[in-house]
Protein backbone atom coordinates (compact mmCIF):
# COMPACT_ATOMS: atom_id res chain seq x y z
CA UNK A 1 0.00 0.00 0.00
CA UNK A 2 1.30 3.41 -0.85
CA UNK A 3 -0.11 6.78 -0.06
CA UNK A 4 -0.63 9.25 -2.88
CA UNK A 5 -1.88 12.76 -3.14
CA UNK A 6 -4.20 11.65 -5.92
CA UNK A 7 -6.66 10.18 -3.45
CA UNK A 8 -6.66 13.48 -1.62
CA UNK A 9 -7.81 15.35 -4.68
CA UNK A 10 -11.01 13.33 -4.96
CA UNK A 11 -12.89 16.01 -3.11
CA UNK A 12 -12.02 18.73 -5.59
CA UNK A 13 -12.54 16.42 -8.52
CA UNK A 14 -16.03 15.60 -7.35
CA UNK A 15 -17.07 19.20 -6.89
CA UNK A 16 -19.76 19.89 -9.48
CA UNK A 17 -21.33 23.18 -10.54
CA UNK A 18 -24.58 21.85 -9.11
CA UNK A 19 -23.14 21.23 -5.68
CA UNK A 20 -21.43 24.61 -5.73
CA UNK A 21 -24.75 26.21 -6.51
CA UNK A 22 -26.42 24.29 -3.72
CA UNK A 23 -23.74 25.45 -1.30
CA UNK A 24 -24.54 28.98 -2.42
CA UNK A 25 -28.23 28.31 -1.78
CA UNK A 26 -27.33 27.06 1.69
CA UNK A 27 -25.36 30.24 2.34
CA UNK A 28 -28.32 32.28 1.14
CA UNK A 29 -30.61 30.51 3.59
CA UNK A 30 -28.16 31.16 6.41
CA UNK A 31 -28.05 34.81 5.33
CA UNK A 32 -31.85 35.02 5.43
CA UNK A 33 -31.86 33.35 8.83
CA UNK A 34 -29.13 35.44 10.41
CA UNK A 35 -29.43 38.85 8.83
CA UNK A 36 -33.11 38.99 7.92
CA UNK A 37 -34.14 36.77 10.84
CA UNK A 38 -36.52 34.74 8.67
CA UNK A 39 -37.50 31.84 10.93
CA UNK A 40 -33.89 31.27 11.97
CA UNK A 41 -34.73 28.24 14.12
CA UNK A 42 -35.43 26.32 10.92
CA UNK A 43 -33.68 28.12 8.09
CA UNK A 44 -30.28 28.14 9.80
CA UNK A 45 -30.15 24.36 10.29
CA UNK A 46 -31.66 23.82 6.84
CA UNK A 47 -29.00 26.03 5.27
CA UNK A 48 -26.17 24.38 7.18
CA UNK A 49 -27.59 20.96 6.35
CA UNK A 50 -27.75 21.85 2.66
CA UNK A 51 -24.11 22.95 2.62
CA UNK A 52 -22.82 19.92 4.51
CA UNK A 53 -24.84 17.55 2.34
CA UNK A 54 -23.56 19.09 -0.89
CA UNK A 55 -19.89 19.07 -0.04
CA UNK A 56 -18.24 16.63 -2.46
CA UNK A 57 -18.47 12.98 -1.39
CA UNK A 58 -20.04 14.10 1.87
CA UNK A 59 -20.08 11.17 4.31
CA UNK A 60 -22.97 12.89 6.09
CA UNK A 61 -25.48 11.58 3.53
CA UNK A 62 -24.07 8.11 3.09
CA UNK A 63 -25.99 5.05 4.27
CA UNK A 64 -24.74 5.43 7.86
CA UNK A 65 -24.12 9.16 7.71
CA UNK A 66 -25.47 11.46 10.38
CA UNK A 67 -28.04 13.13 8.16
CA UNK A 68 -29.27 9.80 6.85
CA UNK A 69 -29.58 8.54 10.41
CA UNK A 70 -31.54 11.63 11.46
CA UNK A 71 -33.72 11.47 8.36
CA UNK A 72 -34.59 7.83 8.99
CA UNK A 73 -35.13 8.45 12.68
CA UNK A 74 -37.62 11.23 12.32
CA UNK A 75 -38.43 12.45 8.83
CA UNK A 76 -39.20 9.29 6.88
CA UNK A 77 -41.58 8.13 9.59
CA UNK A 78 -42.91 11.67 10.22
CA UNK A 79 -41.93 11.54 13.89
CA UNK A 80 -40.19 14.92 14.04
CA UNK A 81 -42.94 17.12 12.60
CA UNK A 82 -45.42 15.44 14.93
CA UNK A 83 -43.20 16.06 17.95
CA UNK A 84 -42.92 19.69 16.86
CA UNK A 85 -46.71 19.81 16.86
CA UNK A 86 -46.83 18.59 20.46
CA UNK A 87 -44.56 21.50 21.32
CA UNK A 88 -46.64 24.01 19.37
CA UNK A 89 -49.78 22.77 21.07
CA UNK A 90 -48.12 23.13 24.45
CA UNK A 91 -47.34 26.76 23.63
CA UNK A 92 -50.68 27.80 22.14
CA UNK A 93 -53.43 29.50 24.09
CA UNK A 94 -56.78 28.81 22.45
CA UNK A 95 -58.50 31.19 24.87
CA UNK A 96 -59.31 33.95 22.36
CA UNK A 97 -60.83 31.36 20.03
CA UNK A 98 -62.88 29.74 22.79
CA UNK A 99 -64.20 33.17 23.74
CA UNK A 100 -65.31 33.72 20.18
CA UNK A 101 -66.09 30.41 18.47
CA UNK A 102 -67.42 31.84 15.19
CA UNK A 103 -63.85 32.88 14.36
CA UNK A 104 -63.38 29.19 13.52
CA UNK A 105 -64.92 29.85 10.11
CA UNK A 106 -62.29 32.45 9.24
CA UNK A 107 -59.67 29.79 9.80
CA UNK A 108 -61.43 27.57 7.29
CA UNK A 109 -61.61 30.32 4.66
CA UNK A 110 -57.90 30.97 5.06
CA UNK A 111 -57.09 27.54 3.66
CA UNK A 112 -58.34 28.28 0.15
CA UNK A 113 -54.79 28.94 -0.98
CA UNK A 114 -54.07 25.24 -0.58
CA UNK A 115 -56.68 24.20 -3.10
CA UNK A 116 -56.32 27.18 -5.40
CA UNK A 117 -52.62 26.54 -5.73
CA UNK A 118 -53.24 22.84 -6.19
CA UNK A 119 -55.44 23.64 -9.19
CA UNK A 120 -52.83 25.92 -10.71
CA UNK A 121 -50.11 23.35 -10.19
CA UNK A 122 -52.25 20.74 -11.92
CA UNK A 123 -52.68 23.10 -14.85
CA UNK A 124 -48.91 23.65 -14.96
CA UNK A 125 -48.53 19.91 -15.50
CA UNK A 126 -47.53 18.67 -12.05
CA UNK A 127 -49.06 15.31 -11.23
CA UNK A 128 -51.74 15.12 -8.58
CA UNK A 129 -49.58 14.28 -5.59
CA UNK A 130 -46.97 16.85 -6.51
CA UNK A 131 -49.67 19.46 -7.01
CA UNK A 132 -51.13 18.69 -3.59
CA UNK A 133 -47.68 18.95 -2.03
CA UNK A 134 -47.20 22.36 -3.58
CA UNK A 135 -50.67 23.38 -2.51
CA UNK A 136 -49.94 22.51 1.10
CA UNK A 137 -47.56 25.45 1.20
CA UNK A 138 -50.84 27.36 1.44
CA UNK A 139 -51.27 25.91 4.92
CA UNK A 140 -48.54 28.41 5.85
CA UNK A 141 -47.47 25.94 8.46
CA UNK A 142 -44.01 24.42 8.46
CA UNK A 143 -44.60 21.05 10.10
CA UNK A 144 -47.83 20.48 8.17
CA UNK A 145 -46.03 21.17 4.90
CA UNK A 146 -43.23 18.79 5.83
CA UNK A 147 -45.65 16.11 7.00
CA UNK A 148 -47.89 16.20 3.93
CA UNK A 149 -45.25 16.67 1.25
CA UNK A 150 -43.08 13.93 2.73
CA UNK A 151 -46.02 11.54 2.40
CA UNK A 152 -47.14 12.62 -1.07
CA UNK A 153 -43.99 13.71 -2.88
CA UNK A 154 -40.87 13.13 -0.78
CA UNK A 155 -38.61 14.22 -3.63
CA UNK A 156 -40.00 17.73 -3.29
CA UNK A 157 -39.64 17.93 0.48
CA UNK A 158 -36.63 20.24 0.37
CA UNK A 159 -37.95 23.06 -1.82
CA UNK A 160 -41.39 22.91 -0.23
CA UNK A 161 -40.08 23.19 3.32
CA UNK A 162 -37.72 25.99 2.35
CA UNK A 163 -40.50 27.86 0.59
CA UNK A 164 -42.92 27.43 3.47
CA UNK A 165 -40.49 28.67 6.10
CA UNK A 166 -39.06 31.49 4.01
CA UNK A 167 -42.38 33.01 3.09
CA UNK A 168 -43.78 32.65 6.58
CA UNK A 169 -41.58 35.53 7.67
CA UNK A 170 -42.85 37.57 4.76
CA UNK A 171 -46.43 37.58 5.97
CA UNK A 172 -46.17 41.22 7.17
CA UNK A 173 -45.01 42.17 3.67
CA UNK A 174 -47.31 39.98 1.55
CA UNK A 175 -50.59 40.64 3.33
CA UNK A 176 -51.00 44.43 3.67
CA UNK A 177 -51.31 45.34 -0.04
CA UNK A 178 -53.91 42.61 -0.56
CA UNK A 179 -55.78 43.80 2.52
CA UNK A 180 -55.81 47.37 1.27
CA UNK A 181 -56.92 46.30 -2.19
CA UNK A 182 -59.84 44.17 -1.04
CA UNK A 183 -61.32 46.33 1.71
CA UNK A 184 -62.70 49.85 1.74
CA UNK A 185 -61.66 52.43 4.32
CA UNK A 186 -65.15 52.27 5.77
CA UNK A 187 -64.87 48.55 6.29
CA UNK A 188 -61.46 48.88 7.91
CA UNK A 189 -62.93 51.39 10.36
CA UNK A 190 -65.51 48.98 11.73
CA UNK A 191 -65.12 48.50 15.44
CA UNK A 192 -66.02 45.28 17.12
CA UNK A 193 -66.86 45.14 20.81
CA UNK A 194 -64.82 42.68 22.74
CA UNK A 195 -65.93 41.22 25.99
CA UNK A 196 -63.51 38.94 27.69
CA UNK A 197 -65.26 36.05 29.30
CA UNK A 198 -63.56 33.63 31.62
CA UNK A 199 -63.06 30.27 30.01
CA UNK A 200 -63.18 27.61 32.69
CA UNK A 201 -60.38 25.11 33.04
CA UNK A 202 -62.91 22.37 32.36
CA UNK A 203 -63.63 23.73 28.88
CA UNK A 204 -59.98 24.29 28.16
CA UNK A 205 -59.36 20.62 28.91
CA UNK A 206 -62.41 19.23 27.11
CA UNK A 207 -61.70 21.28 24.01
CA UNK A 208 -58.50 19.55 22.80
CA UNK A 209 -59.89 16.10 23.55
CA UNK A 210 -63.13 16.85 21.70
CA UNK A 211 -61.24 18.26 18.74
CA UNK A 212 -59.10 15.24 18.17
CA UNK A 213 -61.95 12.82 18.72
CA UNK A 214 -64.26 14.63 16.28
CA UNK A 215 -61.68 15.45 13.61
CA UNK A 216 -59.97 12.08 13.98
CA UNK A 217 -63.25 10.25 13.52
CA UNK A 218 -64.35 12.24 10.49
CA UNK A 219 -60.94 12.41 8.80
CA UNK A 220 -58.69 9.60 10.05
CA UNK A 221 -55.78 10.87 7.96
CA UNK A 222 -55.81 14.03 10.07
CA UNK A 223 -55.44 12.16 13.36
CA UNK A 224 -51.65 12.43 13.67
CA UNK A 225 -51.55 16.15 12.89
CA UNK A 226 -54.51 17.28 14.95
CA UNK A 227 -53.88 14.65 17.60
CA UNK A 228 -50.36 15.79 18.41
CA UNK A 229 -51.26 19.50 18.27
CA UNK A 230 -54.13 18.97 20.68
CA UNK A 231 -52.17 16.53 22.84
CA UNK A 232 -49.64 19.28 23.50
CA UNK A 233 -52.44 21.69 24.34
CA UNK A 234 -54.02 19.12 26.64
CA UNK A 235 -50.73 18.71 28.51
CA UNK A 236 -50.56 22.48 28.96
CA UNK A 237 -54.16 23.08 29.96
CA UNK A 238 -54.37 20.11 32.31
CA UNK A 239 -52.09 22.00 34.68
CA UNK A 240 -50.96 18.80 36.37
CA UNK A 241 -48.01 17.81 34.18
CA UNK A 242 -45.92 20.97 34.01
CA UNK A 243 -42.81 18.88 33.57
CA UNK A 244 -44.19 17.17 30.47
CA UNK A 245 -45.42 20.50 29.13
CA UNK A 246 -42.00 22.00 29.60
CA UNK A 247 -40.32 18.97 28.07
CA UNK A 248 -42.61 19.22 25.01
CA UNK A 249 -42.23 22.93 24.45
CA UNK A 250 -38.57 23.15 25.34
CA UNK A 251 -36.31 20.12 25.31
CA UNK A 252 -38.19 18.07 22.72
CA UNK A 253 -39.09 21.06 20.56
CA UNK A 254 -35.53 22.40 20.50
CA UNK A 255 -33.78 19.10 19.89
CA UNK A 256 -36.26 18.02 17.23
CA UNK A 257 -36.22 21.39 15.48
CA UNK A 258 -32.45 21.18 15.11
CA UNK A 259 -32.55 17.61 13.82
CA UNK A 260 -35.50 18.29 11.54
CA UNK A 261 -33.82 21.32 10.02
CA UNK A 262 -30.58 19.45 9.36
CA UNK A 263 -32.38 16.44 7.89
CA UNK A 264 -34.61 18.56 5.65
CA UNK A 265 -31.62 20.60 4.54
CA UNK A 266 -29.75 17.45 3.64
CA UNK A 267 -32.49 16.49 1.17
CA UNK A 268 -31.66 19.59 -0.87
CA UNK A 269 -29.28 17.97 -3.31
CA UNK A 270 -28.43 19.37 -6.69
CA UNK A 271 -30.08 16.57 -8.64
CA UNK A 272 -33.50 17.11 -7.08
CA UNK A 273 -33.35 20.78 -6.15
CA UNK A 274 -31.90 22.47 -9.21
CA UNK A 275 -34.88 22.08 -11.47
CA UNK A 276 -37.39 24.44 -13.02
CA UNK A 277 -39.81 22.77 -10.59
CA UNK A 278 -38.16 24.56 -7.72
CA UNK A 279 -38.71 27.93 -9.32
CA UNK A 280 -42.31 26.97 -9.98
CA UNK A 281 -42.71 26.01 -6.34
CA UNK A 282 -41.27 29.33 -5.22
CA UNK A 283 -43.72 31.15 -7.50
CA UNK A 284 -46.75 29.05 -6.62
CA UNK A 285 -45.88 29.30 -2.94
CA UNK A 286 -46.15 33.06 -2.86
CA UNK A 287 -49.39 32.77 -4.80
CA UNK A 288 -50.72 30.38 -2.17
CA UNK A 289 -50.06 32.96 0.52
CA UNK A 290 -51.90 35.57 -1.48
CA UNK A 291 -54.86 33.33 -2.20
CA UNK A 292 -55.17 32.45 1.49
CA UNK A 293 -55.29 36.10 2.39
CA UNK A 294 -57.72 37.05 -0.35
CA UNK A 295 -60.10 34.20 0.39
CA UNK A 296 -60.06 35.04 4.07
CA UNK A 297 -60.82 38.69 3.36
CA UNK A 298 -63.64 37.89 0.97
CA UNK A 299 -65.21 35.48 3.40
CA UNK A 300 -64.96 38.08 6.16
CA UNK A 301 -66.66 40.58 3.86
CA UNK A 302 -69.43 38.04 3.42
CA UNK A 303 -69.74 37.74 7.20
CA UNK A 304 -69.81 41.52 7.37
CA UNK A 305 -72.65 41.50 4.87
CA UNK A 306 -74.54 38.90 6.92
CA UNK A 307 -74.05 40.85 10.14
CA UNK A 308 -75.06 44.11 8.47
CA UNK A 309 -71.79 45.91 8.73
CA UNK A 310 -70.66 44.88 12.17
CA UNK A 311 -67.82 42.56 11.23
CA UNK A 312 -64.47 44.04 10.27
CA UNK A 313 -63.32 42.28 7.07
CA UNK A 314 -59.65 42.81 7.98
CA UNK A 315 -60.04 39.89 10.38
CA UNK A 316 -60.23 37.58 7.40
CA UNK A 317 -56.53 38.01 6.82
CA UNK A 318 -55.84 36.53 10.24
CA UNK A 319 -57.34 33.14 9.41
CA UNK A 320 -54.03 31.58 8.49
CA UNK A 321 -51.65 29.71 10.71
CA UNK A 322 -48.77 32.20 10.70
CA UNK A 323 -49.05 32.90 14.39
CA UNK A 324 -48.99 35.60 15.70
CA UNK A 325 -47.75 37.55 12.68
CA UNK A 326 -51.11 37.56 10.88
CA UNK A 327 -53.01 38.75 13.95
CA UNK A 328 -50.56 41.59 14.43
CA UNK A 329 -50.79 42.66 10.81
CA UNK A 330 -54.57 42.92 11.19
CA UNK A 331 -54.31 44.92 14.43
CA UNK A 332 -51.77 47.26 12.91
CA UNK A 333 -53.77 47.92 9.76
CA UNK A 334 -56.92 48.53 11.78
CA UNK A 335 -55.03 51.03 13.90
CA UNK A 336 -53.66 52.85 10.89
CA UNK A 337 -57.17 53.97 10.09
CA UNK A 338 -58.42 54.49 13.64
CA UNK A 339 -55.87 54.50 16.42
CA UNK A 340 -58.41 53.29 18.94
CA UNK A 341 -59.74 50.40 16.93
CA UNK A 342 -58.76 47.34 18.85
CA UNK A 343 -58.97 44.17 16.77
CA UNK A 344 -56.13 42.17 18.32
CA UNK A 345 -58.12 39.75 20.45
CA UNK A 346 -60.51 38.95 17.60
CA UNK A 347 -57.58 38.48 15.28
CA UNK A 348 -55.91 36.16 17.77
CA UNK A 349 -59.02 34.00 17.74
CA UNK A 350 -59.00 33.85 13.95
CA UNK A 351 -55.28 33.16 13.97
CA UNK A 352 -55.50 30.15 16.28
CA UNK A 353 -58.45 28.96 14.22
CA UNK A 354 -56.11 29.19 11.24
CA UNK A 355 -53.67 26.92 13.02
CA UNK A 356 -56.32 24.30 13.64
CA UNK A 357 -57.74 24.68 10.14
CA UNK A 358 -54.33 24.25 8.52
CA UNK A 359 -53.83 20.98 10.26
CA UNK A 360 -57.34 19.85 9.40
CA UNK A 361 -56.86 20.86 5.77
CA UNK A 362 -53.62 18.89 5.67
CA UNK A 363 -55.49 15.81 6.86
CA UNK A 364 -58.34 16.39 4.41
CA UNK A 365 -55.88 16.68 1.55
CA UNK A 366 -54.26 13.39 2.51
CA UNK A 367 -57.67 11.76 2.80
CA UNK A 368 -58.82 13.03 -0.59
CA UNK A 369 -55.70 11.77 -2.26
CA UNK A 370 -55.98 8.44 -0.53
CA UNK A 371 -52.42 8.68 0.59
CA UNK A 372 -51.18 6.11 2.95
Amino acid sequence: MTVSFAQLLQGIQNMTPGSLLMIAVGCLLIYLAVVKEYEPMLLLPIGAGAILANLPLSPMIEAEGMFTVLKKAGVDNELFPLLVFIGIGAMTDFGPLLENPRMMLLGAAGQFGIFGTLMLALLLGFDLKEAASIGIIGAIDGPTSIYVSNLLAPHMLGPIAVTAYSYMSLVPIIQPPIMRALTSRKERLIRMPYTSRPISRRIRIIFPIAVFVVVGTLVPMATPLIGTLMLGNLLKESGVVERLTKASSNEIANIVTLFLGLAVGSTMQAATFLKMQTLAILGLGILAFGLDTAAGLLFAKFLNFLSKGRFNPLLGAAGISAFPMAARVVQKMGQEEDFENFLLMHAMGANTAGQIASVVAGGVLLALLGAH
Binding site: E39, P40, M41, M91, T92, D93, P96, L97, L98, P101, M103, M104, L105, G107, A108, A109, Q111, F112, I114, F115, L118, M119, L122, L123, A132, I190, R191, P193, Y194, T195, S196, R197, P198, S200, R202, I203, I206, F207, A210, V214, V215, L218, V219, S249, N254, P324, A327, E340, F342, L344, M345, M348, A353, I356, A357, V360, A361, V364, L365, L368
Partner: protein
Protein backbone atom coordinates in the same frame (compact mmCIF):
# COMPACT_ATOMS: atom_id res chain seq x y z
CA UNK B 1 -59.54 19.39 -19.14
CA UNK B 2 -59.23 16.35 -16.93
CA UNK B 3 -56.82 17.85 -14.44
CA UNK B 4 -58.80 21.05 -13.96
CA UNK B 5 -61.84 18.91 -13.39
CA UNK B 6 -60.10 16.99 -10.65
CA UNK B 7 -58.75 20.19 -9.19
CA UNK B 8 -62.19 21.70 -8.94
CA UNK B 9 -63.59 18.54 -7.40
CA UNK B 10 -60.81 18.50 -4.84
CA UNK B 11 -61.33 22.15 -4.02
CA UNK B 12 -65.06 21.79 -3.58
CA UNK B 13 -64.86 18.66 -1.49
CA UNK B 14 -61.81 19.84 0.40
CA UNK B 15 -62.96 23.34 1.29
CA UNK B 16 -66.42 21.96 2.03
CA UNK B 17 -65.01 19.45 4.44
CA UNK B 18 -62.73 21.94 6.12
CA UNK B 19 -65.63 24.36 6.60
CA UNK B 20 -67.83 21.55 7.84
CA UNK B 21 -65.29 20.38 10.39
CA UNK B 22 -64.56 23.84 11.72
CA UNK B 23 -68.25 24.70 11.83
CA UNK B 24 -68.86 21.55 13.87
CA UNK B 25 -66.13 22.64 16.27
CA UNK B 26 -67.52 26.17 16.50
CA UNK B 27 -70.95 24.76 17.25
CA UNK B 28 -69.51 22.39 19.79
CA UNK B 29 -67.67 25.15 21.63
CA UNK B 30 -70.77 27.31 21.62
CA UNK B 31 -72.80 24.52 23.18
CA UNK B 32 -70.05 23.80 25.65
CA UNK B 33 -69.93 27.44 26.72
CA UNK B 34 -73.67 27.55 27.20
CA UNK B 35 -73.59 24.31 29.13
CA UNK B 36 -70.73 25.63 31.27
CA UNK B 37 -72.59 28.85 32.13
CA UNK B 38 -73.45 27.31 35.48
CA UNK B 39 -69.85 27.32 36.53
CA UNK B 40 -68.97 29.18 39.68
CA UNK B 41 -67.23 32.51 39.12
CA UNK B 42 -63.51 32.05 38.83
CA UNK B 43 -61.73 32.82 42.03
CA UNK B 44 -59.00 35.36 42.11
CA UNK B 45 -55.83 33.32 42.06
CA UNK B 46 -54.27 33.78 45.46
CA UNK B 47 -50.85 35.37 45.29
CA UNK B 48 -47.72 33.57 46.35
CA UNK B 49 -47.40 33.31 50.09
CA UNK B 50 -44.73 35.56 51.47
CA UNK B 51 -42.79 34.58 54.54
CA UNK B 52 -44.07 36.47 57.54
CA UNK B 53 -42.44 39.68 58.67
CA UNK B 54 -41.60 41.12 55.26
CA UNK B 55 -42.31 44.78 54.80
CA UNK B 56 -43.21 46.42 51.53
CA UNK B 57 -39.67 47.43 50.65
CA UNK B 58 -38.27 43.95 50.96
CA UNK B 59 -41.15 42.65 48.88
CA UNK B 60 -40.54 45.16 46.15
CA UNK B 61 -36.82 44.38 46.07
CA UNK B 62 -37.62 40.72 45.65
CA UNK B 63 -40.20 41.37 42.99
CA UNK B 64 -37.73 43.39 41.01
CA UNK B 65 -35.10 40.67 41.22
CA UNK B 66 -37.57 38.05 40.02
CA UNK B 67 -38.85 40.31 37.25
CA UNK B 68 -35.38 40.94 35.97
CA UNK B 69 -34.60 37.27 36.03
CA UNK B 70 -37.72 36.61 33.98
CA UNK B 71 -36.84 39.38 31.57
CA UNK B 72 -33.42 37.85 31.09
CA UNK B 73 -34.93 34.46 30.42
CA UNK B 74 -37.35 35.96 27.97
CA UNK B 75 -34.56 37.69 26.09
CA UNK B 76 -32.68 34.44 25.98
CA UNK B 77 -35.57 32.73 24.24
CA UNK B 78 -35.85 33.10 20.49
CA UNK B 79 -39.00 34.95 19.46
CA UNK B 80 -40.54 31.95 17.76
CA UNK B 81 -40.47 29.90 20.90
CA UNK B 82 -41.49 32.15 23.78
CA UNK B 83 -43.65 30.38 26.33
CA UNK B 84 -46.43 32.80 25.79
CA UNK B 85 -46.27 34.27 22.35
CA UNK B 86 -46.26 38.04 22.48
CA UNK B 87 -49.81 39.25 22.52
CA UNK B 88 -51.43 36.17 23.93
CA UNK B 89 -51.19 37.63 27.42
CA UNK B 90 -53.09 40.86 27.80
CA UNK B 91 -50.52 43.62 28.21
CA UNK B 92 -51.19 46.98 29.80
CA UNK B 93 -51.70 48.39 26.35
CA UNK B 94 -54.14 45.65 25.49
CA UNK B 95 -56.08 46.33 28.62
CA UNK B 96 -56.38 50.00 27.76
CA UNK B 97 -57.59 48.98 24.32
CA UNK B 98 -60.15 46.63 25.78
CA UNK B 99 -61.38 49.31 28.08
CA UNK B 100 -61.76 51.85 25.29
CA UNK B 101 -63.52 49.34 23.08
CA UNK B 102 -65.93 48.29 25.76
CA UNK B 103 -66.81 51.77 26.97
CA UNK B 104 -69.61 53.15 24.85
CA UNK B 105 -69.19 56.86 25.56
CA UNK B 106 -66.13 58.71 24.29
CA UNK B 107 -66.60 62.45 24.88
CA UNK B 108 -65.61 64.55 21.91
CA UNK B 109 -64.87 61.63 19.66
CA UNK B 110 -66.46 60.28 16.52
CA UNK B 111 -68.46 57.14 17.28
CA UNK B 112 -69.61 55.07 14.35
Amino acid sequence: MESLNIGIQLTVFGMGLVFLLLAVMALFITLLLRFDRTQPPMEEPSGPEYPAGLDAEALSAITIAVTMHQALRRKEAAPAMRRYRPGTRPSRWVNVGRHLQNTSWHPGRRVQ
